[in-house]
Point group: C2
Chain length 234, copies 2
Amino acid sequence: MTGISTTPRAAACAVAVDVALLTIQDGRLRLLLVEPDTPALAGRWALPGRRVRDEESLDDTAHRALDELAGITAPDAHLEQLRTYGDPDRDATDRVVSVAYLALTPMTDAPTDHDRARFWDTDDIGTSAGPSLAYDHDRIVPDAIERARSKLEYTALATAFVEEPFTLGELRAVYEAVWGVRLDAGNFRRKVVSTRDFVVEAGGLARPGPGGGRPARRYRRGSAQRLHPAMLRP
Amino acid sequence: MTGISTTPRAAACAVAVDVALLTIQDGRLRLLLVEPDTPALAGRWALPGRRVRDEESLDDTAHRALDELAGITAPDAHLEQLRTYGDPDRDATDRVVSVAYLALTPMTDAPTDHDRARFWDTDDIGTSAGPSLAYDHDRIVPDAIERARSKLEYTALATAFVEEPFTLGELRAVYEAVWGVRLDAGNFRRKVVSTRDFVVEAGGLARPGPGGGRPARRYRRGSAQRLHPAMLRP
DNA sequence: TCAATAGTGTCTTTTAGACATTATATG
DNA sequence: CATATAATGTCTAAAAGACACTATTGA
């Protein structure tokens, strides 16, 4: 409880939380990164992260990192642990054990009101067009993207990327952006509506986009966490 | 990994590793638990756990916990992170952030040569026939079991429970024990051999059990990590 | 009108599952 | 011989996927 008392056997160390926040913008999967203000890391980009405070849960630290470093307060965003990175030499100065989180959110508000934070196209990360990553975040980022790709198959996580009510065209665009594929609209619809409790009809119709098109029915998230049957990658 | 080199708010805290080691014995899924020598926890059972030392990786701590507390040295056992439990009040005396691991191993050697460690039938845990768990391990254990059940579907993890070479009857017994179901032997064989790189034939035949039966072909693990197509739960 | 998107119908191929049949061992 | 387990064959039902077709909007 106190946190100041340390046992003689335990090393004094620090626990941090780093958040990989993914969203979808213009049909592309994007990742939030921030520029650390450490001079030694000038020009590099990092996942938003904060040290865990006394009496603060890990989830709370994750939310605080997003808020303080990118101005993002997303209390209803999906947030789950990715894994914990604790190699003794992953930080040059001090041993820091980092609990990495995966966050998914719809792209609603402006990218960010902080000028040291921006979204990057995940396809560019790791290429010359993308950012150079600080710390060991080049290990965390691929893990986060693969987790999202994988969980879209057997959980209802895709709905975390869209705002309610949503159309099945919007939901299909999530799968297409995250998986990087094109899906048949008709077969996709049939699968989604036949998967138990994936989505429920919300009533009413959405307005078509600027190019026209038949108005789409609107849906909300269903009660299912895991999908039966699963939505398997092509 | 915060971009701030030192913060006065960072707590001196301890990081520990707890390991949920699952194995299969007599067709049942079993979990390794140890009796802590803390007098306040007399009669309770816990996952083997150790504090992380300086210059020790988290994986190393997991192996050390198994070795020191249960005499299990399983360098080739499957070991993966489960999640990290870091609620401020999860430990009564001191804030301890615990990285939980899931370990899977074939049941080969004697259960243990430590008299404070034993395997428990997972079906009994949580019932009056099972152990009373210490700390917040009653939260970790169900997560570990569900992780194993789930990953058997879409990864080749089932092979971590058997020794090479193995028969498809032995592999089927893994699925039946973890999922708690009966599977058709013929259909199971067809699925396994048609799943790319799940298993490869090792040559030779296994000797039948005491009740007789046709000798079974022997297999080794294939190169696949994820299964395509998946082995879905009935 | 045309282009674009939503939704339905239909057909084929693949897969899952039930269950019978054959093969080869032990006792 | 009976019994047990392995491996294969067969049939049916369900699911996946390709693709045509209809419906309803914006320009």
